[in-house]
Amino acid sequence: MSKEQAILSFEKVTGKKGKFKLKNINLELKPGYLYGLIGKNGAGKTTLMKYIVDEKIRYEGRICLEGEDIRGDHARIMNKIGFVSEERPFLGDWTCAQNAEILGGLYDWFDMETFRETMDKMKLSEGKIYNRMSRGEKLKFQLAFAISHSPCLYLLDEVTAGMDPVFRLELFERIQHLIMDETCCVLMTSHILSEIQTKTDYVGIMERGELVQFGESMDVIGRVF
């Protein structure tokens, strides 16, 4: 994929489903970058991600992944997306390895070796029961799970909220490693301004379902806050 071609694009996306509301979102994410989304609670950060991964949400406009409209083929789209979120359910009574084997088997391509290596690097035991892990461990597992099916788009929803500095440092190191080869990009939501300013390449500011600012992180954060 060339660096000019967007991995993810929103074209005039507007929609409302219950509390999930977005207004005229235009956005392009290119490979090799880490994108941040900030905004108050209820501003629409998580909602924007839900529009990408939830096949049941209806909207006007177009959301494209690698140039193809995401509507109509949820299975194909989810093969290309690594979604990491506290809300995401896994088989809670099963171990990480079992989760990877059972759920990973649903992907067109899932590398157990990569999963084991990533878990090792993050000092996580594969034999741990998912429900007995801490929030941080669950998110690390989810990241390892996502990495193992080589998506072109990573969506990280509030993964750093309430986490210690060591976790955050490790996470950003891993993200930098992921985007280094410029085949994928990462979109993350956060409440931590300093983190977004220093760690992400571009940032978008959400307010009441609208993307009110978008640009280079240093500029935007410096200008707005």
Partner: protein, 150 residues
């Protein structure tokens, strides 16, 4: 194929129990469907049909548990929730369930049709289209209707 593997791997002893219950309930309900409907032309025919029909529904529901739910922290949760962020669409899951249900319903329909026809002909020396249509309606069309609507 991926879903087949997924459900096979996710198998736990709870689903073995569900399958046993399905076998028992469907087995009992089949007692009425294999007998020629002409035998049941008594006053309480409808009560029997509803009762046995209800047992069949419970049996089929037990059979489908493996494909509709999963256990998490002692709670029974819907498989659709788990699949939401996985590369499986809602349509694929529904189709898969329909296929599984249709397969078992075809067997039940065939067994009850054959039994009704044979028993009616041999023991009652009669046969009517009802011996074909009643098994078809109660063992195939009615059980598949709720799944079709999903």
């Amino acid at each position: 194929m991926l879903l087949e593997e997924f459900f096979e791997r996710k198998k736990t002893w709870e689903y073995v129990i569900y399958n046993m219950l399905a076998f028992i309930f469907i087995g009992i309900s089949m007692l009425i469907w294999i007998m020629p409907y002409q035998v049941w032309q008594a006053e309480d025919e409808l009560v029997f049909w509803i009762l046995f029909g209800f047992m069949e529904v419970i049996g089929l529901d037990c059979y489908l548990q493996k494909f509709t739910t999963y256990k998490d922290n002692g709670q029974i949760k819907q498989i659709d929730e788990l699949m939401k962020y996985l590369p499986v669409s809602h349509k694929q899951i529904v189709r898969y369930r329909q296929k599984k249900l249709a397969k078992i319903c075809v067997w039940l329909t065939c067994i009850s049709m054959v039994c009704q026809t044979v028993f009616a002909t041999i023991f009652l020396h009669t046969f009517s289209i009802g011996n074909i249509l009643i098994p078809l309606a109660f063992n195939f069309i009615l059980p598949l209707l709720p799944e079709k609507g999903r």
